[in-house]
Symmetry: C2
Subunit: 529 residues, 2 copies
C-alpha cells in the first residue's frame, strides 16, 4: 500500500501570475482545499503536497485527504510578503494547481510559534519571552461538548499557557467514558461475552471529524494564548481501542497524517509520547523512528520532546528541542532541578511532578503548598514545571483527566509566580549553581530572586553570590514576597554592595532584613540607581 | 612526519614452532624488547607493533621506542593458553620477529582489569565485585622518591582502591615544585627577566625515564590492589611547561605513546582529562578526537571517562564506559545522586565532590563528617564517590596535591562503609528511587541499607518500600550502624513483614526501633531464615 503523504519529494519552480490576494497573518494558517478523487481509498491511494515559495525560501508541505472528496494543504508562512504555491499529486486532477496569497504582519496577540532561546529558555518567534507554565489535560478533547466548553472557560481564567493533551482517547481510572470521535473509521462494534465493547477499525482510513474536532480545540487554546503540547502516543489504551498497537507501519502513517494536519498550527508542540516506557506495545528502538518521522514531516520544526514513565529517553538526541521529564523528586527540594539541567544543554520542563489532589495514589496527592513549592523550585533553578490537578470530589471530572473546573489552591499561586517571572528582566538561572540553590539571577546581575522554601528564618543578611555578581557600590532595593499569600512588600532599606568576601557580596554595613516567621517567602532584589 | 605507532594495520598468520616457554599470568604484562635503530629520531621515524594470537583471538598492539635503541611491545593476555606473536615494523631489523609465551592462571590477588557490570556497577574480569572507593593524588608521581614512598605506605593502610593521578606535572597552589622527570626531552632551560624558568622541549622525543617512573608507580599501586585512574590532560600548567598546549597533532602522538606504554597495565583507567572545560588551550570539539584516539589505541578497552570543571562533557557518548563527574552538590543531601544516574545508564562516579580539609577555598574545606556523608549519599543511591584531602598543616604536603600522609577523619569511616558494601550480597540501588532516598537494596530484596544522614529521630518504624519488596511473612534482622563511630549493633528483635499498605511494607505488629539521638545512623536489614 502506498501512503499518500509520503511522496512529496519534488522540486519545481514555475513563475505564474498572482491569482487573488488572500491575506494571511504571519504564523497563521493558509489552507488550500481541492476537489479530488473519492473512489478507492483516497487516504492510501492519493498523494498530495505543495511547494510554497516567496521567491527566497521554498517550503515543501504535505497535504491530506479530509474526506468527502476534499483534499487540503495547509501552510504557516514565516515571512511577510507574497507567497505562491504549486501542488504535486499522483492524481492528475490535483497535480500542478497553483495559487498565491499575501502574508501580512501578525496581529497583536500573534507572537508566532515558541522556540528555544538562550539554550535553556524559550521565546516566541517574534522575540517575546515565553515562560512555560503548563497544566495537564490528557483527555479533555474526548469529552462531551459542554464539558469541553467549561474547560476552556476554566483555562481562560487560569494562569496556564501550555496544555499537555493526548491525541488518542485515554482509558484510565477517572477517564472511562467513550469519546465522541474516533481517529479511524469504525468497521464494527460488538459486545463480547462479558459485555465489553469490541471495536474493529479500518486503520487505513482516518476519520476527518476526529481531527477537525482536535483542531478546533487547538485553535480554541490558541485564542487563549495557550500552547498545545500534543501527545502523539500514550500507554492508556490497554486493549480498549487498540490505538497503542497499530503496528509500526500504521503508526508512521498516523504520524504523517497528524503532522500534515497540525504542523501549520503555530501553537502546537510535539510530545512523541506520554510515559513512552509504559507503552509496552512498542519496542524502545522504534521511538527513534517515530521521533524522526515527526521531525521530518514538520517543515516548521515545532518544539519536540518525549515524556517518560520511570526510565528517561535519550533526550540529548538532536531531534528533541527540550527536555520533558516526569520525576517529581526533581522539584521537591533545593539543589535538584539544576542537576538534570546541567546535563542536557536544553530547556528543561519537568512535565510531570505529581499532581495537586487527593487521590490514593502518591502521584495524585500533593497539597497546594507542595505543588506551588515545585514550581518555585523549578523556576529558581532556571527550569520549568507543569501543573496537574487530581481532586476527586463527588461528580468531579478531575481536571487532569477530563478537564472541567479547577478547585485546587496552587493555580492562583502559580499565576502569581508567572507574573513575577514575566516582570523579570529575563530568564532566571541559579547565580552560583552548585553552591547556592536559593538565589536566581538574570544575565546582567541587576535582578535576583531568592527563595527560602519551607524553612523559616528570623532574618536574612543581605548577601549575593560573588559569581558574576554586582560591583561594589551598587544599590539594591528589596521586596519581600510571600509566595503563598501572594503579597509583595517593598522594604524601606536601600542596600549597597561591598567588595566580595570569599564567595559572597554583602551590604557595606552588613545590614540584615527581618523576616516574618512564615514559610514560602522569597525576596526580589533589584538594582536601584 | 610519519609517526611510528600509527602504522600497525597488518593481517598475517604464520605457523611457527614455540620458542621458549615464558609464563605470564592472565591479565599480567608480557613484554618483548627488541634492539633497533638509534639514528635519526626513532620516536618519529620507526613504527613498531605486533599481532598476538592464541589461535582463536588476534590482538594487535602498538609498541614504542624506549630510548637507547630499545623497542618494546607490551601485551596483556586475556585468555589462558599459548600465545605467539609476530612484529610489524617499517624497520627491517624489527619487522617479522616472532615469539611465544604461555599464559597461566592468575595469582590470588590478580582479578584482572575492572569492567562495567549490571549497567551501573563494576566487576573485575574474573567476576569479583569491585566497588570504587577512590582518592585523589593529582601530582603524587612528580615528587621526590622519599615522599612517593610515604604516599605508598599511606595507601597501603588506607581504604582506597582507586587513585586519580595526572600524567603531566601539576602547577597549582600547594604544588609548585619542579618534578624530577619531564615527559619530553628538554632542549633548553633559561630564566627570564623575572627569574622565571623557561623550558624549551623537543616534543618529537619522549623521555623514557619519565614514563618508566610513571609505570613503576602504577605497578606499585597494582601491588596494593589500587586502580590507577590516569589523567591524560589537565589545565594546571598555565604556561609553566606548556604540556597543555602542545597542539592537537602532538597531543595525539602523546596519546598513542602513552597508550602503547600503559594499555597492558591491568589496573589502568583512562581519564581523558581533569576539568576538561578549564583547559583553555583545547577547543571543545577536539576532546572527541582525543577520546577516540585513546579508545582506538587501547586493545583491552580499559574503563574510560572525562572529568569536568563546571560544564559536563557529553558523557552519554559510547566511548565513555562510566560517568566521572565533579559536582559536590550531588552528594550533599538526599535525592540528588540518583538524578544523574537516571540519565546516563552507566556507572556513576562522583569523582570530585570537594575535599576534606581546611583550605580557604570552598572546594577544600569539607569537614570529615561532610566527606563521609558524601560517600553514604552516593552509595545509598547506587553511585560511587571519590575522596580527597586538603589539610594545610605547616610543612604538610597536602595529600590531594603531593601525596604524603592522611590526617583527616573521613578515611577510616570510608573504609568502614567500604567493608559494609563489600559484605553486601551485591551492588546497591535505591529500592524506590524517586520516593525514598534513604533505602538501598540489592537485587533480591533480601538486604536493605537505610541511611538517615544528619537528621536525628527517636525511632524508626520497621518499613520497607513495596516496590520489588519482600513477600509477607519474611523475617528480617536489623543491625544499627553508627557510620561516624563505626559501630554495628545487632538488635534483638526479629521483624516479620505484613502485606503491603499503599507503597510500604511494615512489620506484622507495626513494631518500631528505638534509635539513639545521634546523627549519621544507618540500618542494615537482612533476611532471616
Amino acid at each position: 500500500m502506498k501512503f499518500f503523504f509520503t511522496v512529496c519529494a519534488f522540486v519545481l519552480f514555475t513563475t505564474f501570475s498572482a491569482s487573488g490576494h488572500e491575506q494571511v497573518e504571519r504564523w497563521e494558517r493558509f489552507e488550500v482545499t481541492l476537489a479530488g478523487p473519492q473512489d478507492g481509498n483516497p487516504f492510501a491511494d492519493v498523494t498530495i503536497g505543495a511547494e510554497f515559495t516567496n521567491g527566497k525560501e521554498k517550503v515543501k508541505v504535505a497535504g491530506f485527504y479530509d474526506g468527502g472528496g476534499k483534499y487540503k494543504i495547509r501552510f504557516m508562512p514565516q515571512q511577510i510578503g507574497n507567497w505562491k504555491y504549486k501542488t504535486v499529486s499522483n492524481s492528475k486532477i490535483l497535480n500542478g494547481k497553483t495559487g498565491s496569497f499575501t502574508c501580512i504582519a501578525p496581529g497583536k496577540d500573534n507572537h508566532g510559534p515558541v522556540q528555544v532561546a538562550d539554550t535553556y529558555h524559550f521565546k516566541y518567534a517574534d522575540g517575546k519571552r515565553y515562560y512555560p507554565f503548563g497544566t495537564t489535560l490528557y483527555a479533555w478533547t474526548h469529552q462531551p461538548p459542554a464539558l469541553e466548553e467549561i474547560t476552556l472557560k476554566t483555562l481562560a481564567n487560569a494562569p496556564f499557557n501550555k496544555v499537555r493533551m493526548c491525541v488518542f482517547p485515554k482509558y484510565y481510572s477517572h477517564v472511562e467514558n467513550e469519546p465522541p470521535f474516533y481517529p479511524f473509521v469504525k468497521k464494527s462494534e460488538s459486545k463480547d461475552a462479558k459485555g465489553k465493547i469490541r471495536f474493529e477499525w479500518d486503520v487505513s482510513r482516518f476519520e476527518p471529524a476526529f481531527f477537525e474536532h482536535l483542531e478546533k480545540r487547538i485553535d480554541d487554546l490558541k485564542k487563549l494564548g495557550i500552547e498545545a503540547d500534543v501527545i502523539i502516543f500514550h500507554p492508556y489504551d490497554k486493549g480498549r481501542w487498540g490505538f497503542d498497537s497499530l503496528g509500526k507501519e500504521n503508526d508512521l502513517k498516523y504520524i504523517r497524517y497528524l503532522t500534515a494536519r497540525l504542523s501549520s498550527f503555530r501553537n502546537v508542540w510535539w510530545s512523541i509520547a506520554n510515559e513512552f516506557d509504559y507503552v509496552k506495545t512498542k519496542p524502545r528502538e522504534d521511538w527513534d523512528a517515530y521521533t524522526k518521522a515527526v521531525v521530518n514531516s514538520d517543515p516548521y520544526r515545532h518544539l519536540c520532546s518525549i515524556h517518560n514513565g520511570s526510565v528517561y529517553y535519550d533526550l540529548w538526541k538532536p531531534e528533541f528541542t527540550h527536555v520533558s521529564i516526569q520525576n517529581g523528586s526533581t522539584v521537591e527540594d533545593f539543589g535538584r532541578a539544576i542537576l538534570l539541567k546541567d546535563v542536557f544543554f536544553k530547556p528543561m520542563i519537568y512535565d510531570e511532578v505529581c499532581y495537586e489532589g487527593d487521590l490514593q495514589q502518591r502521584w495524585g496527592h500533593l497539597s497546594g503548598e507542595e505543588m506551588t513549592e515545585a514550581f518555585w523550585q523549578g523556576v529558581i533553578a532556571g527550569t520549568y514545571v507543569t501543573h496537574g490537578e487530581t481532586y476527586s470530589n463527588v461528580g468531579d471530572t478531575i481536571f487532569w483527566a477530563k478537564g472541567g473546573r479547577l478547585t485546587g489552591s496552587s493555580p492562583a499561586r502559580i499565576g502569581f509566580l508567572r507574573k513575577i517571572l514575566e516582570e523579570s528582566p529575563g530568564p532566571l538561572e541559579l547565580a552560583d549553581p552548585w553552591k547556592d540553590h536559593h538565589t536566581a539571577t538574570t544575565a546582567d546581575s541587576s535582578y535576583y530572586l531568592v527563595y527560602f522554601g519551607k524553612k523559616m528564618q528570623p532574618e536574612w543578611t543581605f548577601n549575593l553570590p560573588k559569581k558574576a555578581g554586582p560591583k561594589a557600590g551598587q544599590k539594591f532595593k528589596v521586596e519581600l514576597i510571600d509566595t503563598w499569600n501572594m503579597t509583595i512588600q517593598t522594604l524601606p532599606e536601600i542596600f549597597e554592595t561591598d567588595e566580595p568576601v570569599d564567595y559572597r557580596i554583602f551590604d557595606k554595613e552588613r545590614r540584615a532584613i527581618r523576616l516574618p516567621m512564615k514559610p514560602y517567602l522569597a525576596l526580589r532584589i533589584t538594582a536601584y540607581q
